[in-house]
């Protein structure tokens, strides 16, 4: 029997607002423990939460970017559980009227377009951090993270492989980055992902029993954990067993999933409306205003750029992988420079310079006009490819004018026929046997002479022109 894997993902996104979701404490990482806490986020009696307006705004942005319907009536609910990371004994979240519902995300996976449904996106507060300290035989609690604004994004169980889940996550992260509402850094925990995994015989409509995977710290860990879990479930079913619904923790070092102990997963959250927060109504005009502020999103931009510039999907994917990089390309393309060459220079040498410096294109002194000028100088034969790469390495940091660098460093190729003529004549005299070979029909023997001439001219010649020149000289002298 053939099985298919059914995957749904829950992504938690920490927002990059200045303050927490319900209080004015700084929303920041890496501060000393319990230095950004107040009576509200510590859940002291008699305090009242008040919603940060930027959180609602970011929630609308995320919902709209994921093609969701924004609820015009929004409220918060209490999700009740006792754990030391939750000082109030409940998490303020959203149950039946979340900010956004019923959307989708388009992306490319396995060379094909795929659309995955988004069930909902809702706002909630993050919990504190627990450190299990053996030295003092206790658990230590840092409440700095308590009240950090989160958006939880729940996908439909429509992903069919670990690779698809990986590609969905990458596309989702890119979309969220374009919105500029979060760091989206999985290592720092500002983006977290849990996966619901089940298997079923191919063609079966009914969903199998699912398990929930937690504790994955990178996209590739998500992929590995899903692969491992799907295999585990298949082996279980083949050997006559059945899948038990449970929460599993991914152990990255050992590459295995370990069941969470039952005490920790006795979750019966008893949601009820949060009486400390009044509801929110959003007008269609307010929703339209936020929609108007959205940037062109990566998938739409990808499609447009392929159509507008006649470039390959593969190249467009690299260009849109960073909003600033795509902006840079389009600004340079506006100058009318040959787009195919520009793409090659962006995704090749420029990308290499960025990787070496581990920075974004906006961190460079290089401006779009400079790159366009460089590409133009290569295409009109003024400089060789090799010289252009050296110039690029210089101007990304110096921001110097391309033509100025060409002049200063004497990098212009020699195309003056008189000067070329002298050098070529010398070389022909020195290698009469090669000249004979060319005359007797071995045209590629000229390559050796081109090499010799290039050496003498310290690379400052256009090899194509030089080759033609030598062929002509050999035949007519």
């Amino acid at each position: 029997m053939d099985f298919e894997t059914v995957i749904g993902l829950e992504v938690h996104l920490q927002l990059n607002t200045a303050t927490k979701i319900f209080c004015a404490c700084r929303n920041d990482f890496g501060l000393p423990a319990n230095t950004c806490v107040c009576p509200v986020c510590l859940g002291l009696p008699g305090t009242l939460p008040v919603l940060n307006r930027m959180v609602l705004r970011s929630g609308m942005k995320v919902g709209l970017a994921l093609n969701c319907t924004i609820n015009t009536f929004v409220k918060f609910d209490r999700k009740n559980y006792y754990y030391p990371d939750l000082p109030k004994g409940y998490q303020i979240s959203q149950f039946d009227f979340p900010i956004a519902k019923k959307g989708f995300l388009d992306f490319i996976t396995g060379g094909q377009e795929k659309r995955i449904g988004i069930t909902r996106a809702h706002m909630e507060e993050d919990a504190g951090k627990l450190i299990h300290d053996d030295a003092v035989n206790a658990t230590l609690v840092d409440y700095n993270r308590t009240g950090t604004p989160l958006i939880e994004i729940v996908s439909e169980p429509e992903l069919r492989s670990a690779q698809e889940a990986y590609d969905y996550l990458s596309a989702l992260k890119l979309t969220l980055q374009y919105l500029n509402v979060s760091d989206c850094d999985m290592e720092k925990g500002s983006l977290r992902c849990d996966a619901n995994v089940s298997i079923r015989p191919k063609g079966e409509e009914k969903l199998g029993t699912r398990t929930e995977l937690k504790n994955m710290n990178s996209f590739s860990a998500v992929k590995r954990a899903i692969e491992h879990e799907a295999e585990r479930q298949a082996r279980l079913v083949f050997s006559g067993g059945s899948v038990v619904q449970q929460t599993l923790l991914w152990n990255e070092e050992k590459s295995v999933t370990v069941p969470m102990r039952s005490k920790e997963q006795a979750h019966d959250y008893r949601y009820f409306p949060e009486p400390d927060l009044v509801p929110f109504t959003l007008t269609e005009a307010a929703i339209a205003a936020v929609r108007g502020e959205l940037p062109e999103l990566p998938f739409v931009r990808l499609r447009r750029m392929v159509a507008q510039y006649g470039i390959m999907d593969y190249d467009a994917i690299i260009l849109v992988s960073d909003r600033a990089f795509a902006d840079f390309f389009e600004a340079a393309a506006l100058t009318g420079v040959d787009v195919k060459s520009l793409v090659n220079w962006m995704n090749g040498p420029l990308m290499k310079e960025l990787k070496e410096r581990r920075c974004r294109v906006t961190d460079l002194k290089l401006k779009p006009l400079d790159l366009a000028a460089l590409v133009r100088r290569v295409n009109d034969g003024t400089i060789s490819n090799l010289a252009a790469k050296d110039i690029l390495a210089d101007i990304v940091d110096s921001g110097k004018d391309v033509d100025l660098v060409i002049r200063e460093q004497g990098l212009a190729q020699v195309s003056d026929e008189d000067e070329l003529g002298k050098i070529v004549d010398d070389i022909l005299k020195e290698h009469p046997q090669v000249v004979e070979q060319i005359r007797s029909g071995k045209a590629n023997a000229a390559g050796f002479l081109v090499g010799q001439a290039m050496k003498r001219m310290q690379g400052k010649a256009n090899p194509k022109i030089l080759n033609e020149f030598i062929q002509r000289r050999v035949m007519h002298v």
Binding site: N52, H132, D268
Partner: protein, 94 residues
């Protein structure tokens, strides 16, 4: 029907300790609450807009502006036990 088992389960979720001989008391109280809900459910409310909050207020916001948090001394003043700037609680994972 609320059973003694249900009362124990709800108590455990709320981290409440209830003596065996008190179970029937809470069972009866929870039962009467549910009966009241049943009574409410019978009301004709088709033309009554749903209430989600007792106050007729909405859209109460705060601007995204930082205000000072508690000082470490103030933050720790609520702690029953503490260790190097952290609240110290019984170990939750072995």
């Amino acid at each position: 029907m609320i059973t003694n088992e249900t009362v124990k389960y709800i108590a455990s979720l709320s981290r409440l300790h209830i003596e065996e001989d008190r179970l029937p008391v809470f069972r009866a109280e929870l039962e009467s609450i549910l009966q009241y809900i049943d009574q409410l459910a019978k009301l004709e409310v088709a033309n009554v807009p749903p209430t989600s909050h007792v106050f007729q207020m909405e859209n109460v916001f705060r601007d995204d502006v930082v205000a000072p948090s508690l000082t470490p001394a103030e933050a720790m003043s609520f702690a029953i036990d503490q260790h190097s700037g952290h609240y110290k609680v019984p170990k939750v994972i072995e």
